[in-house]
Assembly symmetry: C2
């Protein structure tokens, strides 16, 4: 890796050489972070260099990624998802500019593809032929898909409540799927034991420090797609904390190498029924108080977030704000994004947008601001909730006279 200096523990500061199979801090169990040599990256990478690149995947930012110079990035086409301007919705909400980053258009239909695409490359560097994780859904299907594309075996541990669509997706990718009779914690513990025993490559979120560097590519893209102009706010749905930590790291990286001149403020959005990260931020502590997982947005129903500290610090460092939204507000945001932008997100995928809308309504952010909302997963992953959000169509006999009474034009 040309530009990676080391991995460091965010708790005790211990440093480690960047072996491909790093997990947590050997001394204190803390989460690790990858450190880069920013001056050397700044010398190699600038906007003109990037403008010349034809690679329209996350690998266009290779200097900022923790992979070896000669690592083969063949696999699914991950990243470079569209950033849609949403001028009509912006006007309705009172924003000067609003952009929707639709990461549901990644190959397995979620932002998690960015982490998994990196994980399978690191697995290859580690000489592993098998990758594993526990997940409620998107991390799992993305790992299964990326593994299949590169001819790796995968073992996936899921809690019993995982939605059928997500399970079917990873079964289709030929993963060895273990549905654990219990909750997410049970699935996680069993995966950890199995990974240890059989020596599989570990793609558990927060445990594997490389994953957030995959996720950060969403921010690199947002900045480049905006011509290196940074929005005032970036709204992100938050579950285990890895995604928002990755989003923040992406902007930090760009700031460090001088590609952007300021940093956005993060809007950390959780479900009212499961918001331990936001509660800690609001309480001004770094103590995690686990919560029940009472929300239909299954991908962010994480009562004991694994990347709690990184997430809390990211939101604080950005001067960010927290917003908690009800399930009904999530479903309303889903319908609003569909109707005004043609973007169909899953509940957790649009939770960031729901929070942005609420923050504006509550004047937590000023009218006239600029904002990006990241849609983290595709609505086709959770049709049951789409049916809840969408309502029923009009039913009519095949008779135009009955139709003419209801056509509004």
């Amino acid at each position: 890796m040309l530009y990676v200096r080391a991995a460091t523990c965010i708790h005790c500061g211990a440093e480690y050489p960047p072996r491909p199979d790093l997990t947590v801090c050997a001394q204190c169990g803390g989460v690790l972070e990858i450190l880069y040599d920013y001056p050397r990256i700044a010398a190699a990478l600038n906007s003109a260099v990037l403008a010349e690149r034809r690679e329209t995947t996350m690998w266009r930012y290779r200097e900022l990624l923790p992979i070896e110079a000669d690592s083969d990035t063949a696999g699914l086409r991950v990243g470079w998802s569209p950033l849609y301007p949403a001028p009509r919705l912006a006007a309705t909400l009172g924003l000067a500019e609003l952009y929707i980053k639709d990461d549901g258009l990644n190959p397995t239909a979620s932002l998690k593809d960015r982490a998994s695409a990196l994980a399978v490359i690191k697995a290859g560097e580690a000489g592993a032929d098998t990758v594993a994780c526990s997940s409620t859904g998107n991390a799992a299907s993305s790992l299964a898909g990326s593994a299949a594309a590169r001819g790796l075996r995968s073992y996936i541990f899921i809690p019993a409540r995982a939605p059928k669509g997500k399970v079917a997706q990873l079964m289709m990718f030929g993963a060895n799927v273990i549905s654990v009779q219990g909750n997410y914690e049970d699935a996680f513990r069993l995966s950890a034991e199995a990974i240890e025993r059989w020596g599989w490559y570990n793609r558990n979120a927060a445990i594997n420090p490389y994953l957030s560097d995959g996720k950060k590519t969403v921010s690199l893209e947002i900045a480049e797609q905006l011509g290196w102009q940074v929005p005032d706010y970036v709204a992100v749905s938050v579950g285990d904390g890895c995604t928002i930590a990755g989003v923040w790291k992406g902007f930090q990286d760009l700031y460090e190498i001088g590609l952007i001149r300021r940093l956005p403020r993060l809007i950390s959005v959780q479900a009212t029924g499961c918001c331990p990260i936001n509660q800690a931020i609001e309480a001004g502590t770094e103590d995690l108080i686990p919560m029940a997982e009472d929300t239909l947005a299954d991908s962010i129903a994480v009562g004991r977030p694994r990347n709690f500290h990184k997430a809390v610090r990211a939101v604080r460092a950005s001067g960010g704000i927290t917003v908690n939204v009800s399930d009904q507000e999530i479903l309303s945001a889903m319908a609003l994004l569909g109707k005004t932008c043609g973007v169909f997100g899953e509940p957790a995928g649009v939770t960031g947008a729901a929070g942005l809308i609420k923050a504006l309504a509550e004047k937590k952010i000023p009218a006239g601001a600029t904002a990006v909302s990241i849609v983290t997963g595709n609505g086709l992953k959770d049709i049951a909730n789409a049916v809840n959000a969408a309502g029923e169509p009009l039913s009519l006999p095949p008779d135009i006279s009955q139709l003419s009474g209801i056509i509004t034009k």
Copy 2:
């Protein structure tokens, strides 16, 4: 439109000026085809010009598309879907090279987005603020999504039996959905009457001659992604015939302007339970004998194909072959593509691949050939059949001793 000469009826040869609201031939009711000025396109467009373009959507081929020079193409990001090399699957099947074109990664998750993206632009050129079609599936959701992204109203007519999940997607995009108490023919007739009465823009397949020029962009991309080398075979699933006709037109266009030096042979794949186009090709006639719609691949369950003639002629002109596959062969192909390529297609989406596999097994095409299989829709659209194809996961208590009995390595 710089390079469109006219529209011509494929039956009677009548020619029409290319108004944006063209439908079928005013004289005989036949399907129209858009004619281009190939010599002038060849003078303007070549591989070097294309290599310089940064546009990674279907609009990179603007010279070959029937839109006005100044038409705004803002909207969903349609096209430039990945073409994945599948070397392991190729080796298993005995092909020299195999590529999977994953069009399920379009914004509303099907190839139909290419047609709908064009339709909403033509609607704008026609001055319409409302678009309409009848469909139970991908055409409808793609139209609703593309319309929402551009602030157009949409009316979608569906038969009463349309599956809830697909209806939900339409409703999410804010479409006015009319559930017609009757079958598909009833919904089609009511849509035709309503379109006529209220002057909406018509996106009914085969009726609107521009749609297949949207679809043809899949072939333009395949050729460019292969460095203008043409595969021996292109496998396509076939329902109403519009897609395979579009695929053929794309290759024809490139051949006419000299960007490719030969044409591929088409593999027209239908479900055994609904294969009227293949039956006619095999019987050597151009007479349509409608069939029942007995297949789980709902997107190609079309007993009375609306673009029958164009499809039959395309397959014949290419020196192509026909293959009919059972529902079980479709589900097997679904699992095989998922497992070996990380590509998850809906049943109709992988029917082309199922046919390619069967054609190789039956030695209808030679070992050592090169082939592209187009996946036309995402598997997340039809989770019920994915569950059928993939099976259920292994359910276990959170106890590693029970796991150790089943780990194979």
